[in-house]
Amino acid sequence: MRVTSRQHQFDALVRAHNGDLYRYAYWLCGDPALAQDLTQETLLRAWRSLDALRETDAAKAWLITILRREHARLYERKSFDTTDIGELELDDRDSLTPEQLGEDSIVRAAMLQLEPKYREPLLLQVLGGFSCEEIARELGLGSAAVMTQLFRARQKLKSLLGAGRVEASA
């Protein structure tokens, strides 16, 4: 079967961004299975409108926009139970110390407790690597508002964690 350049482009897009999209989706919905579905649906939608992607540099933001829309659509269709902190999995990462693994699980639990309006800009910044201006564009807010939300997001997260403990272990 002849592989088209469009297919090549899509392969590259999937391999380059599936991880970031999955993580972003996971932190949006807090559910690994749902995050996989969201990632897949996002990339399949991207395939259908791949011709709209003109610049490689814009790919990540473009995909995140699709993902956010998909997530919003999902919430329009059905409502989900809130995530039980006790159900959050600890990741099996050999390189980390037991203390770090424990700390990660606490940060994750706190992250899921954060209100979406604070969690989302924080995810875009920390996971996506977007600047405040880019986040503002993505969320349809002003830069100053985004900066305030990011500052408050960290403050709230620290207070949820008991900031001193996290900072000390880092």
Binding site: Q7, F10, D11, V14, R15, N18, G19, Y22, R23, Y26, W27, P32, Q36, T39, Q40, L43, L44, W47, D91, D92, R93, L96, Q100, E103, D104, S105, V107, R108, M111, L122, L123, Q125, V126, L127, S131, C132, M147, T148, L150, F151, R154, Q155, L157, K158, A163, V166, E167, S169, A170
Partner: protein, 240 residues
Amino acid sequence: MNCLEYRRQLGSDPRHESAEMLEHRRGCAGCAAHHARALGFELALKRALAVPVPDGLAERILLSQTTSERSLRLRRRQRWGWSAAAAAVFAAVTLVVIQFAPATPLSRQLVVHLQHESEALLTHTPLPATEIEERFRRRGVRLMAAPPAGVSYAQLCPVGPIASVHMVMPENEGPVTVFFLVHHKGRRGDHVDKGMYVRTVPMAEGTLALVAADPRRFDTLEASWRNSLEGSPAVAAGTP
């Protein structure tokens, strides 16, 4: 820049420090310590957010995409196949209709038409020749001689798809209906349909059809109409 401004900006985006912020941090031990703690927090946060990606996620997505793409292509091909089959059936049916529609005997069409206009048979008053000539003219036919006498009805009618001049001649043996089918190229023939006698004769630029319950006057009328439509043999031969 004071400490409050520095910490607010750092709290918004710890990865980026402007020149002004850097200058403040270098001169402020408290903010330098705060900066170090903030970076530590960012590292912990980034590590925690980097949840492991399920094994084979990219491959599963690509498999799903190529599979759905393939089935879409297959569906399109099938749809095209169905469309082609439907078009072929339609073409075949159309061909059959076109080819066999004339197989509905002309005699049947003439008899049916006559039945639909049966009131025409009740007319007895002969029409002036000019009126009959006018009907033919309107069909684009010029009579070579005066029409036979005794036509009591003359109308422009379609017989199926064929344009005609529909006439009635009340003869002693009973009324004879005469059709001149303009530009119709039929064969000569005598038929009986639904108890009516039908004669078709190629004549001039069409076909003359005679329909009656009694065919005894057919020969005479055929000759008369040939004279009207084609002229006498002398005229037809160009003899003065």
